[in-house]
């Protein structure tokens, strides 16, 4: 089975302050650590497990600046066969639709049975690229997938996650696109040998012209107007002091509220 995995590099902001920059259209990008989008790691692992079972190839694809090679090389080190980076100012100017168009154009030049992506990006949270890409490729798709079984060479049986712990089980014919939910498997670490080999694996770079895309084709359908800090209407009463003092006050509070 030939599988394409869409990967995104995102800043890890779970434990850091996030501030809007002076353009009001982006966050301040200083001192941020960049990593692979969490859900994309599960998408890659899904691909690698299928390849181990069925043979075939895994191709990684990412839109972004040269820096995303770190994400792609790490994926190659884990066992993907080759990588494609799409880099052009025109890709940065648009929206999710623009990104999906660039991906669709590049992917359609390859042979594939399955396209995978993470179900959501931890930065913008759009959850939009996967099914958009599927529509552009004219293949069926399923979002928030957390289980993939291969029925035969033409069909998958999948579970999709719905609200409240309910799963939707369905069958989908290949070629198809799935967006993979976190927790679907246990993403592997790259081995030392894998990391050494990754450097020799092909990583091709395409710009808009090479993909036959121009500004008009890549124009977004939406526009970011502005970013701002949410108004936090915190009604929380903050308990302050040294760790000891905090623990004293907290213990009294917990005892009262827990009815001990």
């Amino acid at each position: 089975m030939d599988i394409i995995v869409c990967m995104k590099m995102v800043p890890d902001t779970s434990e850091t302050e996030v501030r809007v920059d002076s353009t009001n259209k982006d966050i301040l990008k200083v001192r941020l650590i960049y990593t692979t989008n969490e859900a994309d790691n599960y998408a890659l692992e899904t691909a690698l497990l299928l390849k181990e079972k069925l043979g075939g190839t895994v191709t990684l694809i990412s839109v972004g600046p040269q820096k995303v090679d770190e994400v792609l090389r790490m994926g190659l080190a884990k066992g993907a066969d080759r990588a494609i980076r799409l880099t052009d100012e025109l890709f940065d100017k648009g929206d999710a639709w623009t990104t999906a168009k660039a991906l669709a154009q590049a992917i359609s030049q390859n042979k594939y049975d399955l396209v995978l992506s993470g179900c959501i990006a931890s930065d913008d949270g759009y959850s939009q690229i996967g099914p958009t890409l599927a529509a552009l490729l004219k293949i069926p798709s399923a979002a928030y997938v957390n289980k993939v079984e291969v029925l035969d060479n033409t069909k998958l049986r999948i579970d999709r996650e719905l609200e409240g712990g309910i799963l939707e089980r369905k069958e989908i014919s290949l070629p198809a696109l799935l967006t993979i939910q976190t927790g679907t498997n246990t993403p592997r670490y790259a081995s030392i040998i894998g990391i050494k080999r990754a450097g020799a694996k092909p990583l091709d770079v395409f710009d808009a012209a090479k993909l036959n895309l121009d500004a008009q084709a890549l124009a977004g359908l939406t526009e970011l107007d502005k970013m701002y800090m949410p108004k936090v209407e915190s009604k929380a009463q903050f308990i302050q002091g040294s760790d000891d003092e905090i623990s004293d006050k907290l213990a009294t509070l917990v005892k009262e509220k827990a009815g001990l």
């Binding site: 949270g125 798709s141 069958e171 939406t222 929380a236």
Partner: protein, 328 residues
């Protein structure tokens, strides 16, 4: 015209439908527009009867093939409806269904889509939608460059519409039944089989008055033992965020949030939890919420009643000692 897709799962109209109707009324009243509700089902009448009082028009498409949600089956049906009726705005739930459908539908029709919005303004030639980014740490306003546009609406962003308090009262929608023109071979591409449930281990966190919930701030699996012990000491039950489940540190029935359980204990202690929307939506109605987080800007503090900015790995052992001392 403002249109919305009624969300039905296992024979039930989901709450998000009534929340979207509140938004639709707000926009329609301001703009003097009409509201069209769209029902796709194997049996529309019961749903139409419920929704009638909130809409100017109802479009029903009825067929056994529409008994369960399926993007590939919905797609041609909704594309036809949108092409024929040209609504300014088409609302879909930001749910397991809507997230699967909306981007596919928007891309097929070449229409702008803004996902997971919690507020929206409709202008004569665009929509401006508000949504959050970076796990709730930033908000963004996004504009569709044209209309018609599609938006998916975040669950819990609007109150459910109330028949006794309607911005546009005295509605009784005229119901149009459209024929179903789907080629059943679509099911070869994508076919609903059944609903399933995540297996449980017998613990029901929704039944506990006291929940001690841990998030990624707990850092390592081995740190869970101390929290479990603390939970026992105060008669509580251990719960957690999704990443703890994803890592395999606790079984799925301990998860609080939109894809886990919704809980309302008397006391909810959140340890090292950032407070992502998907988590908060499952615990914000707890009577007392105490949050410990080293990041003073963590969104969890927006729903907490008591907050501690600090390192839980330092505070927890001190707290556990004192609780045991107080219990004497």
């Amino acid at each position: 015209m403002i249109s919305l897709l009624i969300e039905i799962r296992e024979g039930q109209i989901k709450d998000i439908t009534y929340e979207m109707l509140t938004l639709a009324h707000k926009l329609a009243a301001a703009q003097k527009q009409e509201i069209t509700s769209i029902i796709l089902s194997d049996n529309c009448q019961q749903y139409a009867d419920t929704i009638k009082q909130y809409s100017h028009k109802i479009i029903c498409v009825e067929d056994p093939l529409l008994a369960n949600f399926n993007t590939q089956v919905y797609l041609p049906v909704l594309s036809n409806i949108i092409n024929d009726t040209k609504p300014n705005l088409f609302l879909i739930a930001s749910s397991g269904f809507g997230t699967d459908l909306a981007p596919y539908l928007a891309a097929s029709l070449n229409l702008p889509l803004i996902t997971d919005i919690f507020d929206l303004e409709l202008n004569p030639d665009n929509m401006l939608a508000r949504r959050s980014m970076y796990g709730g740490k930033i908000n963004a306003d996004i504009i569709s460059k044209s209309l018609p546009a599609i938006a998916t609406v975040r669950v819990g962003s609007f109150e459910k519409i109330l028949a006794s308090n309607l911005l546009i009262p005295n509605l009784s929608a005229e119901i149009t039944k459209l024929p179903f023109l789907i080629d059943p071979s679509i099911l070869e591409m994508s076919k609903f089989i059944e609903y399933g449930e995540v297996p449980t281990t017998g613990i029901d966190i929704t039944k506990s008055d006291i929940l001690i919930a841990v998030g990624r701030g707990i850092k390592e699996q081995k740190n869970l033992a101390a929290v479990e012990k603390f939970a026992q000491d105060i008669g509580g039950t251990l719960a957690c965020t999704r990443p703890i489940i994803d890592a395999g540190w606790l079984p799925k029935d301990r998860q609080v949030g939109s894809s886990g359980k919704t809980v309302k204990p008397k006391l909810y202690i959140a340890l090292g939890i950032s407070g992502a929307f998907q988590h908060i939506s499952g615990m914000k109605s707890s009577e007392n919420i105490i949050a410990v987080n080293k990041d003073p800007e963590a969104p969890i503090f927006s729903v907490a009643h008591y907050g501690v900015v600090g390192d839980l790995l330092k505070i927890l052992p001190l707290l556990a000692n004192r609780i045991n001392a107080l219990k004497g």
